[in-house]
């Protein structure tokens, strides 16, 4: 019999501490970038190296922060799972006793109830015992059935933590969708154990894109939205609700979410169910009511027509709208999106048209890399002419390319032609050589040893496949995650750089199934008519922090929306 000892309060405290460390890592990431970004170039000898250090430091420190934030959330989820199991176990015990009473009479019902509460333990103490202790005692008596309370196919379960819906059970399963806390999934009745976790196959209705069937960790599911005894209507009985009169009389105050997620709960402790968890940057309305509990100030907030609840005050900040924002439609407000990627601009080289551009580079020299093509799953090495490394002017490709390749389909044995989009990941690692094999590099507006004719170390080139850019339907197209389909986004950094679009507003035209909900990534595609090329620009590296704004409904006024 396994031994379990856990204090969810301690787990929550540790989660808070880890989150604090994550925040401080974020601060360090910004510090490193600020310290380096103003370095002078010195003709490219100093500045670019220092900027690169700053960018790399920012990336490494941010990655550390992101991972810690995930761990913190995971820890909160574990605490909630234990608390939830606690409530489930109690509810199951009482239900069995009650059903037994109804079915076979009070005598046997009481007997069964007594059986579940061993006679040497008083009812008061039994209720107070941590669930692990009760489970351990009952397992000792041979009772284990209530450890898996969700067994009926078709059971609707509530998501208690930001949750990945995966294609396969296990932590390595492909992520199909992100389910937000408070949303519902339907259990198909199929479960598997993987990576030490019980995974449930569920159906989840992804907003805008439809129903998916996938696997989720059962740790983060609950049969009821609230724990027994922690329903929203119990808040006023349990806690002293205070009011900030000034905020209340002014109709509430808009607050911006300053943590990755803001868990809006039915009440001001982790015992209450999460109603919704909007992301960083979104705006909620504080009603002016608050509760001081557990060392925190909890605000009563309204997010939308369906969502009103309590949120920790240290997860929100006063909201200051950007004064330079484009006019927003009635009832809407521009809010910043939390994004994982930002800009870089790639020239999409048409390799077929120029490779091999240099006389001494044989077309037969090939570069091989692995690439999956299409649902047929051709997963073999694909050969690209080494000329892909050169542009028509003998300058190495330093961005993205498109090339037609021939591959043999292992299933049919037939040769097929495929168009492959790719990018060179490490142009800085390549060494140029002139026609006499002498090293040459660009310096002070000229080549130190004459024009380059080849790359001395082509085998060091690292390529990365790119998704196929969408068909262009206008001067600028934009692809984004499914939940932004049809929405307008505003990119302040591009303001006044585009003809006829001074604000740089874009409609998300292509939902591009590759963008998972919950981790926004926006790709912009420009058509450069003059050069006759398509430009591929995604929010990555160069402008990692370029903000993107979307329109959000202004949260309803106090008094509207669902009652707490």
């Amino acid at each position: 019999m396994g031994f379990i000892q856990v204090d969810p309060v301690e787990l929550r405290q540790a989660a808070g501490e880890i989150e604090q460390v994550a925040e401080e890592y974020r601060g360090l990431a910004e510090h490193a970038r600020r310290a380096t970004q103003d370095a002078q170039s010195y003709d490219g000898q100093f500045g670019p190296q220092v900027w690169a250090v700053g960018d790399e430091a920012h990336a490494r420190l941010s990655a550390q922060a992101d991972r810690l934030a995930e761990l913190s959330l995971e820890l909160v989820g574990i605490a909630e799972a234990f608390e939830s199991a606690d409530a489930e176990s109690l509810a199951a015990l009482h239900a069995i006793a009650l059903n037994s009473q109804m079915l076979v009479g009070a005598g046997l019902g009481n007997l069964i109830h007594s059986l579940f509460r061993p006679p040497h333990i008083s009812e008061e103490l039994w209720v107070m015992l941590p669930v692990e202790d009760r489970i351990a005692i009952l397992q000792g008596l041979g009772f284990t059935f209530f450890l898996t309370p969700f067994t009926d196919p078709g059971t609707v379960l509530y998501v208690t933590n930001p949750l990945r819906v995966r294609g396969e059970p296990g932590l390595n399963g492909e992520i199909l969708a992100y389910a937000t806390p408070g949303s519902q999934v339907t259990y198909t009745g199929v479960s598997r154990n993987a990576d030490g976790v019980e995974w449930y196959q569920v159906r989840y209705l992804v907003p805008l894109t439809g129903l998916v069937t996938g696997w989720v960790s059962s740790h983060y599911l609950s049969t009821g939205r609230s724990r027994v005894g922690f329903e929203p209507e119990t808040v006023s009985e349990r806690f002293n609700i205070l009011t900030d009169a000034a905020v209340r009389e002014s109709g509430g105050a808009l607050m911006g979410i300053s943590s990755d997620w803001l868990q809006i709960r039915d009440g001001p402790t982790g015992d209450f169910a999460v109603v919704d968890a909007p992301q960083w940057g979104r705006v909620v309305r504080w009603t002016g009511r608050y509760i001081e509990e557990g060392g925190h100030k909890w605000y009563e907030v309204i997010y939308d027509e369906d969502t009103r609840g309590w949120a920790r005050g240290d997860r929100v900040d006063e909201f200051a709208p950007r004064m330079d924002a484009p006019p927003a439609p009635e009832g809407k407000i521009w809010v910043q999106v939390q994004q994982e990627r930002s800009f870089s601009q790639y020239n999409l080289f048409d390799v077929d048209n120029y490779a091999p551009p240099n006389g001494d580079l044989a077309a037969s020299e090939q570069i091989r890399w692995k690439y999956d093509i299409g649902p047929e799953g051709i997963n073999g090495p694909i050969e690209v002419p080494r000329g892909a490394l050169f542009g028509p002017d003998g300058v190495a490709m330093q961005g993205s390319g498109v090339v037609t390749v021939e591959v043999t389909n292992p299933a049919t044995g037939e040769t097929e032609q495929h168009t492959v989009y790719f990018t060179l990941d490490n142009p800085g690692d390549l060494t140029w050589a002139n026609s006499e094999d002498k090293s040459t590099e660009w310096s002070d507006g000229g080549w130190t040893n004459g024009r380059p004719a080849r790359i001395a170390n082509p085998d060091d080139a690292l390529f990365r496949p790119l998704p196929k850019p969408p068909e262009l339907t206008s001067e600028v197209s934009l692809a984004g995650p499914p939940e932004y389909r049809g929405q307008t986004i505003w990119v302040p950094d591009l303001r006044n750089t585009l003809d006829n679009n001074p604000y740089a507003l874009f409609a998300v035209e292509d939902a591009g199934g590759a963008f998972p909900r919950g981790s926004p990534r926006f790709d912009l595609y420009f058509e450069d008519a003059e050069a006759g090329r398509q430009w591929y620009s995604d929010f990555y590296e160069e402008r990692r922090d370029a903000p993107i704004y979307v329109l959000q409904d202004i949260p309803p006024e106090i008094g509207e929306g669902p009652k707490p």
């Binding site: 880890i18 420190l61 995971e74």
Partner: protein, 103 residues
């Protein structure tokens, strides 16, 4: 024979003045990162001693490497700070020199 003034190009090598300031800032970030890694180690250590069960085993398997990873970022930053401090740049400048010219 006489002296004549001619223009010559001279190569100057120097460490930019701001290199030291930037390196010091990066060192400070590295030091703070080390301190955070230490705090993280304590937090995880406390969890390890007060919590038992499979969930703990799984969570610690994921989180135990984080302090070392944080320290490794700090080590890298220290090394980069040292490199930035010693970056030498070159500048060609045209200067006039007195040169002895035979008649």
């Amino acid at each position: 024979m006489s002296y004549q003034t001619i223009l010559v190009r001279k190569l100057y090598r120097f460490v930019p003045g701001e290199a030291h300031t930037i390196a010091a800032e990066l060192q400070a970030v590295a030091a703070n990162g080390s301190e955070l890694a230490g705090r993280l180690k304590v937090i995880i250590g406390n969890l390890e001693s007060s919590w038992e069960g499979q969930a703990k085993v799984r969570f610690l398997a994921e989180s135990n490497g984080m302090p070392a990873q944080g320290e490794s970022v700090s080590d890298w930053l220290r090394a980069e700070a040292g490199r930035v401090r010693s970056i030498t740049v070159e500048r060609w400048e045209t200067v006039s020199e007195e040169t002895w010219v035979p008649d």
